[in-house]
């Protein structure tokens, strides 16, 4: 086996890794510059922000939500206006420890109500669906000095759109199949060598597999958080990871399903913190969804596709213990199209500001790279510890 990309030695665990060091004198320098870890958790399916970060003090909340309204006495009180869903117990602890920050009435520029288009806008950083083919997280990779080469990993069997693009990216998901014979691996390697697409995929697959080590893990939220942490905490590991969560589309019977979803998210975040150890203090986790859900409960104990939602920043590097919201209100005249939470903060503003602070990049240039042609929507105070 040859090492085509010596910089990706974080993925090597064989004796070959030692050889790679000789080719990579810039590694240590680059590491020292960016010791921060950035994790993007996408909530696919339009997570209900109003029942995640609950505006319990808004006089219209209880009436709109009727049987879905969450009793403030059961929820985790954040401040005089907002409370956290009771399933987010560990996240609530992080808030109290000043390591979780919630943002409300947030939305991407997308204003229709298709999941797939909404996710496309959220992941590409375009203003309309299918305007761009690459993802903002991949473009962020290109902004980090010396970190262009497979410094990001998707904890999924396939690479999500946000991570697709010019920058090389690894993907890893635990597998329950027995390992194939080495002979086959070696010959596959030779066979794919001249094939640009297969060669690239195969290299990344082999290396991610090496790094994950022999202990194969099951797909549950805590295991997924642990797995992400094992990659991210390595001194020579990737600095950026993306985790996909699905199942947030709650048209019917929402209360039980949302509670289960949030409990999973809570377990994922708690496992990340636990297994990152010291690296947690240098970590920022951003949680966002493609759009929100209707302010009012629908006829089947659920909510339909809406606009504004909530986002979270969690991690040891977050200046937390705050809810940031230019709250638009839930009164009939305050809702967007008389049905949705009106957004007052753009996801591009939030994502670009977080990424810029996380990696000490110029904020204006970061916004232009991640969201070409877009201007900041809404204002934000400093989000992270310096």
């Amino acid at each position: 086996m040859t090492i085509a990309h010596p910089r990706r030695r974080w993925l090597q665990q064989t004796a070959l890794a030692a050889a790679a060091t000789a080719f990579a004198p810039r590694v240590l320098f680059a590491r020292a510059e960016t010791d921060r870890r950035f994790v993007f958790i996408i909530q696919r399916g339009a997570a209900d922000g109003l029942n995640t970060v609950i505006p319990y003090a808004d006089p219209a909340y209880a009436g709109l939500r009727r049987e879905l309204a969450i009793d403030p006495a059961q929820a985790i009180r954040l401040d005089g206006s907002f409370a956290l869903h009771p399933a987010l117990a560990a996240t609530g602890e992080l808030y109290r420890a000043g390591q979780a920050l919630f943002l409300h009435a947030v939305a991407s520029p997308y204003r229709e109500r298709s999941h797939f288009d909404g996710q496309n806008v959220l992941e590409t950083g375009g203003t309309r669906p299918y305007q761009r083919k690459d993802g903002w997280l991949n473009r962020l990779l290109g902004m980090l000095p010396g970190l262009k080469d497979a410094e990001a990993i998707a904890l999924a069997p396939t690479v999500p759109l946000a991570l697709r693009g010019q920058g090389r990216v690894a993907s890893y998901a635990p597998s329950a199949l027995p390992a194939p014979p080495d002979d086959l691996l070696l010959r596959v390697q030779q066979l794919y060598e001249p094939d640009a697409q297969l060669h690239t995929l195969w290299d990344a697959a082999l290396e991610a597999r090496d790094m994950a080590g022999p202990g194969r893990t099951r797909q549950n939220p805590a295991e997924l958080g642990k797995l992400a942490a094992t990659f991210l905490k390595r001194p020579d590991g990737p600095r950026i990871a993306m985790v996909e969560t699905g199942g947030w589309d709650t048209h019917a019977g929402q209360n039980a399903r949302l509670a289960a979803q949030l409990k999973n998210l809570d377990a994922l975040l708690a496992a990340l913190k636990e297994h990152l150890g010291d690296a947690w203090t240098r970590t920022v986790v951003l949680v966002a969804t493609e759009f929100g859900r209707t302010a009012a409960v629908n006829g089947t104990g659920g909510t339909d596709h809406g606009t504004g939602s909530a986002a979270m920043l969690v991690g040891g590097a977050v200046r937390g213990g705050r809810v940031i919201a230019d709250w638009p209100g839930l009164g009939p005249s305050q809702l967007l199209e008389a049905r949705d939470l009106r957004p007052t903060l753009g996801l591009p503003t939030l994502i670009a500001a977080t990424a810029a602070e996380c990696f000490a990049l110029d904020p204006g240039r970061t916004l232009q790279t991640l969201y070409p042609g877009q201007t900041a929507a809404g204002r934000l105070p400093g989000l992270l510890t310096s």
């Binding site: 797939f116 396939t158 027995p178 194939p180 086959l184 010959r187």
Partner: protein, 468 residues
């Protein structure tokens, strides 16, 4: 004009079909081989014989749920568990039926169309009741209609209990309907009403396509028209009652009392029909719309020709659709006639399902002894009938041609090649499976492999075999 096309039999078998079997004779004329399949397709091949009728499955579930409710609450758990297990078994059985009918299908091109349409009208089996009905959904709503008129497939799909349950339509109630008025009288605090999930996905995914010019009010109006479309016992009474039109075979029930009264206006057109005919009329108009012709044409072209389909092919298929008022056969004929579909370089990376089926066919299997398809599809990243979203699985390689997914194919190829009856010689098999398509590098690699098993596994993950 005679054009020498050495790759043509391979393209017909692999790009349009389900992959070559060792006992296949490569067709001399690929186009003719595909066209004549349109004349001898069997909607219900023998592999599907053991499938219970959807109506029976629904009735059985309703009865068992009723029994559970009537038992003391501390004894309900085992009965619930047994029901869930039975529902899951129906799902697993149907996966085997689908796979078996793909392994020795006499009309592999039409079988591929079945898989294509089942993904277009995707249901997702997270919910045990939807999982239980996934096989009958494909057998009842897709298989009989793939060569007919599109609108008939849409109507069968949207009335099937699997779709109604998946997209929550069984629970949607017209706010001004008899049922809602009565419920409000009984319990004013409980609000019951519309669920627009099915309406939106019919417009966005099944027919017109997203961004084709409809607005929120069109979706809501259509959702009102759809109220009353329900499932017997799960949203509607399971015995015929006044105002309930029940289809015993599928378990679909129209419940007039839940239907929102009055005329509806969708996309500027007024629909004054009564009862279930109202939504049916709207769906028929959707099926005839220009946007639908383009949507269907684009998806077919993307599936068979290229991830970014050539505009000329899309235009040709859309025209065939319009000229024949939504008849699907002429659309397939236009596809087969398209020169772009016969370019020798493989443009498509096989999906996990296409790859698994072609690998099993390549190994000559006609049975599943020892192969657990449901588990394998899970490992390959695309569990069957479970895309997790009503949009189905994406049909572009970027979605699944990822490092880990490739590793799993290699792992699985190693396993399949070591099955006891896989002891064929890969060197002789390769040119049969990839007629006119096998490259020299792969042929050399097969001949140099250390063992027959490795050679066989290598063939199944060779660049030529991974693509079509």
């Amino acid at each position: 004009m005679a054009v020498h096309e050495p790759a043509m039999p391979g393209i017909a078998l692999n790009r349009f079909g389900l992959g070559t079997r060792p006992d296949d004779t490569a067709p001399a004329d690929g186009r003719r081989w595909l066209l004549e399949q349109l004349g001898r397709y069997e909607p219900r091949p023998a592999a599907w014989d053991p499938l219970p009728a959807s109506g029976d499955l629904v009735r059985d579930t309703v009865a068992r749920q009723r029994e559970i409710r009537d038992t003391p609450s501390d004894q309900q758990a085992p009965a619930r568990e047994a029901l869930r297990k039975a529902q899951r078994q129906h799902y697993l059985d149907a996966i085997d039926m689908r796979t078996l009918s793909a392994l020795d299908a006499p009309t592999p091109f039409v079988e591929r169309l079945v898989h294509f349409w089942a993904n277009h009208f995707a249901i997702s089996a997270e919910n045990p009741a939807v999982a239980m009905l996934a096989g009958s959904f494909e057998a009842d709503a897709i298989r009989p209609h793939v060569l007919g008129r599109f609108e008939n497939m849409v109507l069968a799909v949207e009335r099937h209990p699997a779709m109604l349950l998946f997209l929550n339509q069984n629970a949607s109630i017209g706010p001004g309907s008899v049922a809602a008025t009565r419920a409000t009288r009984r319990n004013p605090a409980q609000q019951r009403g519309l669920n627009e999930n099915l309406a939106r996905e019919i417009m966005e995914l099944h027919t017109l396509g997203v961004r084709s010019g409809y607005g929120q009010e069109d979706v809501t109006e259509f959702a009102r028209a759809l109220t009353g479309w329900s499932v017997a016992g799960l949203g509607a009474p399971d015995t015929p009652r006044r105002g309930v039109e029940l289809d015993q075979g599928t378990g679909y029930a129209f419940q007039a009392e839940r239907h929102e009264p009055g005329p509806r206006t969708v996309l500027g057109r007024r629909y004054g029909q009564a009862g279930q005919q109202q939504a049916a009329a709207i769906i028929r108009d959707f099926a005839r719309a220009d946007a639908t012709a383009r949507h269907v044409a684009t998806k077919l072209a993307r599936h068979f020709v290229a991830d970014n389909p050539p505009p000329a092919v899309v235009e040709r298929l859309a025209r065939a659709y319009r000229d024949h008022d939504g008849e699907l056969k002429p659309v397939y004929q236009a596809l087969i006639a398209s020169p772009e579909a016969w370019r020798p370089a493989p443009a498509k990376f096989k999906t996990p399902w296409e790859w698994l089926v072609s690998a099993l066919r390549g190994l000559g299997r006609t049975d599943l002894q020892g192969v657990r398809v449901a588990a394998l599809m899970q490992q390959l990243g695309q569990p069957l009938w479970r895309p997790g979203s009503p949009a189905g699985y994406d049909d572009v390689a970027g979605s699944w041609a990822a490092p880990d997914a490739l590793m799993r194919r290699v792992e699985l190829a190693g396993r399949l090649a070591s099955l006891p009856d896989a002891g064929m010689d890969a060197r002789q098999l390769a040119p049969r499976l990839l007629p006119g398509q096998l490259g020299e590098a792969t042929a050399t690699a097969l001949s140099r492999a250390e063992s027959g098993r490795t050679a066989m596994a290598l063939l199944l993950v060779s660049p030529e075999f991974l693509r079509r």
